[in-house]
Each structure stands twice: as C-alpha cells, then as structure tokens.
C-alpha cells in the first residue's frame, strides 16, 4: 500500500474488487468520489472506502450506469436525511405522548 499507509491505493482496490480503473475516474469526474493524487498515484481516503464499495456494487451487480448512480446517490442522501428528521420528530412527539 506504499508509504501512504492511511490512504487506499485505487489500483489495489480495483484488483481486489475486480473493478476497472476507468470506473473510479468516472466517479471522480461526476463528483461522486473524492480522490487524492500523490506522486501520480491515485488514492482514496479510508472513510471513502465503504462509499466506493457501494457505488461499485450498484454498477457491477445491478448494471446501473453512472447517471443512474448519480440519481441514486442523491436520493439515498435524501432518504437518510428524512429518516434522521423522522427520528427527531418522533422523539419530539414523545414529549406530548399522554398515553403513559
């Protein structure tokens, strides 16, 4: 993994996950993935790994193209935000719960 032990080399990622490197570049170009370039080697931050694995599954397992992934990423973000909001509202509602 080279000297940058905290970063994940995308070449290694691609070999491990059997993913084409062009896919990673496309994700980066469409703003779906942040990459780090050190001495011409492309890395991702460790916290991006789970996100990238998810995007790769959507593409390779479900045959979803880049435009579809962009839409899904946006909608999933929205779903997560709404779920958090719903939990907060439910907690607020408990303040007025007189059933107990």
């Amino acid at each position: 993994m080279s000297a940058h032990t905290d970063l994940i080399d995308i070449n290694e990622f691609c070999i491990y996950h059997n993913v084409e490197i062009s896919f990673i570049h496309s994700l980066h170009q469409s703003g779906l993935l942040d990459i780090v370039v050190v001495k011409e080697t492309v890395f991702i931050q460790p916290e991006e790994l789970e996100h990238l694995e998810k995007l790769a599954r959507l593409h390779y397992d479900l045959d979803i193209n880049l435009e579809g992934i962009e839409t899904i990423a946006y909608l999933l973000e929205k779903v997560t935000r709404l779920q958090d909001e719903m939990t907060a509202i439910k907690n607020k509602m408990r303040l007025y719960d007189v059933s107990e």
Binding site: H17, N18, I72, T87, N91, K92, L95
Partner: protein, 291 residues
C-alpha cells in the same frame, strides 16, 4: 432456514428460460438491494431470498437438483452423494476423489452472492445485521456495557451515556461473513428508549411538570423536585403563574460522548386549584375577590 419456492421468489414460471430468470432477478435486485434500502429489514430479507433463488436457478446443475428434489433438494443431493460414496471402491484413486470434492464444494458453497466460475468473481461484502436494544431512560443516561449474541458469538459493547431514542450505531465487521474473500458486513444497533413516567426528553434537555398548590403559588414557598441525581428543593417565588417554567442548569441528560456535560432540566409548574372548599374557605375567597 425455511423452504423458499425459488420460482415464486423471482416471480417466474417453472419453465422460465435462463434469460427470463436473469431478467427477473435483475429487476428485483434493483428494487430490493440493501444499498438502495437503508434500514429496511424487510427489503434485506427479500433480497437474501431472491439472491438465494438466483444462485440456484441460474446454475443449470443446481436448478436440476432443485427441480428434482424440491424442498429437500440439498439433502437429496447429500443422499445421492452418500450413495455414490458407498459404491466407491475403498482404494479409490485421487482422480475420483478430486472430482467429488469439487462437485461438493460447488454445491454446498455459500448460496448468498456466490458465483460460478464463468461469472465475474465478485467479492461480496457480508450481510449487514440489524438489531434493537431496549433501554430505560436511566440506563440510557449511564455509560454501561451489554452483551449481544450475534451468530452464536457474544459481543460486549459499551453503550455511552446519552444515547437517543432511535439512534443507530454501527459495529463495523460484526455482520455476516463476506463471500469470495469479501469483507464482513456491519452490525447496526438501534436504541429504543422507553418513556419515563416523570421526565420527557428533548435532545439533551429534560422536561417535567410539578404540581404546586394555589397558596404556595400565590404566597411563595418551597417545593421538592425529583431530578436524576435525587431530590432538590426549589424556592417558589410569590405570585407564580400557572405554566411558569424554571430551568435547572446541568440537571438534564448527559451529552452523548461528552463526559461531564449535561443538558438542563425544565420544570413547569402546574397550579392545583383547591376543590371541595369549606363554607369558610368559600367565604374567604369571596371576600378576597371583593377587595
């Protein structure tokens, strides 16, 4: 594991072609994939079922066995294997052994996400698990440890004081095992915190209602109030109005992962009007009203 009708799971006829099965699976996978349905247990369960169905029906050998043995297809194969073993000479050569081992591992390999050699060898991340932990409000306010049993293994977790109702924490790598060398899934724990008979929580703050009698409200006095750290005496100022809210700083809920920090406790006074007045009391109130 319960028997699943794989054809029904994929919504295809028993005579469906390989292409029809592939297409039905793709369609359902796009709908039920865990990445597209975060925190949806039902979708996760169905996705497992269609994966299992696809794994068997998309493999001609497995499909043949499934069609032949139906519900007992796995055992049926075991019986057949056993029968073949019995017929095998005791001094059998390596060639025959190698063949049967390969056949056996293919057949009994993990059905979830497994792939045949002709397909892309995808490394599947293990399944994510979801569980709930029920806590009382007082438990949620104390850092403590609990033991969970997942897949027969005990996991000891520390629950930090201040967790909220509905909060989800992720234990990385404590989900199902990965397939084809993929990483293990994660364990998601949702905290369900029961309502407290006295305190209502709002983030880090607590709210409670305290009844005071009319005379204390009008003339002032003292009232004992329950807090998380025991009772405290509050001074009630004269002419306190119904619904007056008092803030007790630092007597609320502990702030999550910030040791020593607490929210506030808000006490709302509810003034109790006396009932069943005596004639003398009525007369005095009447006199008072005329002043």
């Amino acid at each position: 594991m319960d028997f699943i009708d794989y054809y029904k799971a994929l919504g295809v006829a028993k005579t469906a072609s390989a292409d029809e099965i592939k297409s039905a699976y793709r369609k359902l996978a796009r709908k039920l994939h865990p990445d597209l349905n975060p925190n949806d247990k039902e979708a996760h369960k169905k996705f497992q079922q269609i994966n299992e169905a696809n794994e068997v029906l998309s493999d001609p050998e497995k499909r043949k066995k499934y069609d032949k043995y139906g519900k007992d297809w796995q055992h049926g194969d075991q019986y057949a294997e056993a029968a073949r073993s019995q017929q095998r000479p005791r001094n059998d050569g390596g060639q025959f052994n190698n063949f049967s081992e390969d056949d056996f591992s293919d057949f009994f390999g993990s059905m979830f996400g497994g792939s045949s050699r002709s397909k892309r060898q995808t490394k599947y991340r293990g399944q994510d698990y979801n569980t709930e932990i029920q806590l009382s409000l007082t438990e949620a306010f104390t850092t403590h440890q609990q033991t969970l049993t997942v897949d027969g293994k005990n996991i000891r977790i520390t629950i930090p004081a201040g967790v909220e109702n509905g909060q989800i924490i992720k234990l990385k790598g404590h989900g199902g095992a990965g397939v084809n060398g993929g990483p293990a899934g994660d364990l998601y724990i949702t905290f369900v915190i029961a309502n407290h008979p006295i305190f209502k929580r709002s983030g880090n703050d607590l709210n409670m209602t305290v009844e005071i009698d009319l005379y204390t409200a009008v003339l002032g006095g003292e009232v004992m109030v329950e807090t998380l750290n025991g009772k405290v005496k509050l001074k009630v100022v004269p002419e306190t109005q119904n619904g007056t809210k008092i803030r007790l700083k630092g007597k609320g809920a502990p702030v999550y992962k910030k040791e020593g920090e607490f929210g506030d406790l808000y006490v709302t006074y509810h003034i109790k009007i006396p009932t069943n007045l005596t004639e003398k009391q009525k007369a005095l109130f009447t006199e008072l009203s005329k002043l």
